[in-house]
């Protein structure tokens, strides 16, 4: 469904959108998806590691290490995700100015890491709740009594065998969250948050594309529809760059929301 929708949009853009603008839309979508997927992957790695670490430290009663890890996690949790990503962009700006980060790939990677730091605790929480639930089940004790290592039980038996569907569901939803965060912050930053934060040279994403002057005019043109509904024909032909960027964002978010919900229903993931 998502592929079909984006495919139709690209077909339409191929016909009616000028080539440089169409290239920008494609590049923006590609960068956004790659960055979102990267953020999901990094969140899985960070979430898995921190979730398992929380569980093991608690099991082994390592109070100080547990408190330190909790402090870091709670500090991240206490900040709104958007603010965390914004802070990442401020740092990115400084790194670009200091010429430490130069290539577009490195800049995109930085954005990806920033988004994943903002969202990985959601994976960590899922992992902790799965481990907590399974800790009370008898097969865990039975395996321990047979000398099977705790690490094998956690990673292979609980998380891989019994939780991968829950994790996949979480990651699908997180992909939507990552795209939403990235587009929101890109939009805010590209419109111009302050004179200190202005990233005009970072790789193009759907958020920054939407914030460009052309796209903003395209979106503003939508208001004409209130006074002249027949203007819709002009919108879908003459204001395609902004409309395409907005469509890509909204359609992708809706689709991934529906995919996540559908997956949860089909796998009956509502229970523990």
């Amino acid at each position: 469904m998502w592929c079909a929708g984006i495919g139709c949009l690209f077909l339409w853009d191929e016909i009616f959108l000028n080539a440089p603008a169409f290239d920008r839309v494609r590049a923006a979508l590609f960068n956004t998806l790659v960055s979102g997927a990267g953020a999901v992957f990094l969140s899985l790695v960070l979430g898995w590691a921190s979730g398992a670490a929380f569980f093991l430290l608690e099991q082994r009663r390592a109070r100080y290490s547990f408190a330190l890890l909790s402090l870091v996690a709670n500090a991240i949790r206490s900040l709104p995700q958007v603010v965390l990503v914004l802070v990442g962009y401020v740092l990115l700006n400084q790194l670009i100015l200091a010429e430490i980060i130069r290539s577009e790939t490195a800049q995109l990677a930085w954005v990806t890491v920033t988004v994943s730091v903002a969202v990985f605790l959601e994976v960590s929480d899922t992992i902790r709740s799965r481990l907590e639930y399974f800790r009370s089940l008898e097969f865990i004790d039975a395996m321990l009594c047979c000398g099977i290592s705790e690490s094998r039980i956690i990673h292979r038996e609980i998380l891989w065998r019994n939780s991968r569907e829950h994790l996949l569901h979480k990651l699908i939803a997180l992909f939507g969250v990552a795209i939403f965060l990235q587009c929101s912050v890109d939009f805010i930053v590209s419109v111009g948050l302050s004179t200190n934060v202005s990233l005009s040279n970072v790789p193009l994403t759907l958020g920054s594309l939407l914030a460009s002057v052309d796209s903003k005019q395209d979106i503003l043109a939508l208001s004409n529809l209130f006074s002249d509904p027949a203007y819709i024909t002009e919108i879908v032909v003459r204001h395609l760059q902004g409309v395409s960027a907005a469509f890509c964002i909204v359609f992708t978010l809706v689709c991934f929301f529906m995919i996540a919900n559908g997956y949860a229903r089909s796998r009956r993931l509502n229970g523990p």
């Binding site: 082994r60 009663r61 008898e138 004790d141 395996m143 009594c145 047979c146 000398g147 290592s149 094998r152």
Partner: protein
């Protein structure tokens, strides 16, 4: 009523295909068989209690709807009773047990005092205190709930009149009862049977019932049928079970291990262990004032007995280091463990190396989402090659443990197969000490004999075994009197 032909399928996959499911009017049918092969589901189908939404069901080659509409079926359903394996599923948490015991037609039965007195072994005061509570998951105990359901069934049985017909099912009615109560239940059933023109089906794994019925109630021989259900190439078959088969086998059992007490012990547990606010002590015989130290010698089997719900499993798990005791002194392979020790101490030197434990419920002791081959993964000292795994399985499985069996998900195995897999996993570790919690649970006679043969091999290798089991006939015969202990426990504090 006559034997039924039952077929049940789910999404085209056959679950039950049995001809001659044993039910007969005026006969008490005792049905044995490994757990999970369809004994209960078949009984539920005959009693009209299966939810047909996701199943394709036929009884006597009729669709389920046609079968349930038959006049005779309606009569024996209305006059009968089903005592469920899990009694909580039957009881209404919003009504006291006493109200439920007198609900509907049960209020007309006059035999309640007799039934209650016998099921509570004369302790009517205790019964009265139980009957006035609302059933919740953990209160009353499983055994008390089972007795209440049995009392309902006996009341309903007393209402049957000549010429009427009723179908009574007791599904594992003695699973949570200790041996004395189990015997009382059987005696009660036998006393009510001639009075009622009913078909009575008793589904059980407890072969001790055979001994009680044949020794104590031989006069009933024509009214009792022993049957066994088993799987042949995925289809259920029912055959006659010869009581002599069991009685002969039990009488042939001899104490395992050497006759002389070895010099070295492997495990020693001091009386006075306190865990979860309960205090435990070990005695040699009932009423003994002197507490003993539970000692398990190398090459010998020690049998720990105790009433249902007393805490035998808790004691085993505490010895295994899974619970944190308030007080405990245990010596495992020469090393002393007390309440000061932490899980890591057991993890480093005990679990899977010096000592292992077979848990009571195989369903809960195995990862249901794993494949059979995965059950062998990560076991210390066991190379999980296909050949090794098949060799290990061959000890307790027949031809079924070949090739594709290793790739079967655990949840698709029958209860008996899971229990055997559960046992195999622990036994291949060849630890110095083996704790067994109800090792014969859910197994048929043939599988039980194989397990005992394996235990004998473990003992011959010098392992020490501590066993907890309700199968007193069997384990009393397998254990020397000096290796039998009785567990006593009492609640401390509020």
């Amino acid at each position: 009523m006559k034997p039924f032909e039952i077929s049940i399928a789910q999404d085209g996959r056959p679950l039950i295909a049995v001809a001659g499911y044993p039910v007969a009017e005026g006969v008490l049918t005792i049905l044995f068989g490994e757990s999970g092969i369809g004994k209960s589901l078949s009984a539920l189908a005959v009693a009209g209690l299966v939810e047909p939404a996701e199943l394709t069901i036929s009884v006597d080659r009729e669709s389920y709807a046609h079968y349930l509409a038959r006049g005779d079926v309606r009569e024996y359903r209305a006059s009968g009773f089903f005592v469920f394996q899990e009694p909580s599923s039957h009881l209404n948490p919003l009504m006291t047990l006493r109200r439920q015991l007198n609900e509907g037609s049960l209020a007309r039965a006059t035999n309640e005092p007799d039934v209650i007195r016998r099921l509570w072994q004369g302790n009517e005061q205790e019964a009265a205190s139980i009957l006035d509570v609302y059933p919740k998951p953990y209160r009353p105990s499983g055994g008390e709930k089972q007795r209440v359901l049995a009392a309902m069934a006996f009341k309903k049985m007393s209402l049957l009149r000549p010429g009427s017909s009723g179908f009574f099912v007791f599904d594992e009615p003695t699973a949570s009862l200790d041996n004395r109560l189990r015997d009382e239940f059987i005696d009660l059933l036998v006393d009510y049977l001639p009075q009622a023109p009913a078909a009575v089906l008793l589904i059980t794994h407890d072969y001790s019932i055979v001994a009680r019925l044949t020794r104590r109630h031989a006069r009933l021989s024509g009214k009792v049928a022993f049957k066994e259900m088993y799987l042949v190439r995925g289809k259920q078959e029912v055959r006659d079970f010869e009581p002599r088969e069991y009685l002969g086998w039990v009488s042939s059992l001899k104490p395992l291990g050497p006759g002389t007490v070895p010099a070295e012990f492997a495990l020693r547990v001091a009386s006075g262990m306190r865990v979860l606010s309960r205090s435990y002590r070990f005695v040699r015989k009932e009423g003994d004032a002197n507490a003993a130290t539970l000692t398990v010698y190398k090459g010998r089997m020690t049998y720990l007995k105790g009433g249902s719900g007393l805490g035998k499993t808790t004691v085993l798990k505490t010895i295994m280091g899974l619970f944190e005791p308030e007080k405990m002194v245990v010596e495992i392979g020469g090393r002393r463990f007390t309440r000061e020790n932490r899980r890591k101490d057991w993890s480093r030197s005990v679990w899977g190396r010096k000592m292992t434990m077979v848990f009571q419920h195989a369903d809960e002791a195995l990862n249901q989402r794993a494949l059979v081959r995965d059950v062998f993964g990560g076991l210390p000292g066991f190379e999980s090659s296909e050949r090794n795994m098949l060799d290990a399985l061959a000890k307790l499985f027949d031809a079924e443990a070949e090739g594709s069996f290793l790739n079967r998900p655990v949840y698709t195995l029958s209860g008996g197969q899971k229990q055997r897999l559960n046992l195999v996993r622990s036994m291949i570790l060849q630890t110095e000490i083996l704790l067994l919690d109800e090792p014969l649970s859910g197994l048929d006679l043939k599988a039980s004999a194989k397990v005992i043969h394996l235990l004998e091999q473990q003992l011959a290798r010098g392992s020490a075994i501590l066993v907890v089991s309700h199968n007193e006939d069997i384990f009393d015969a397998l254990t020397r009197p000096e290796d039998v202990y009785l567990l006593e426990g009492h609640k401390e504090g509020p």
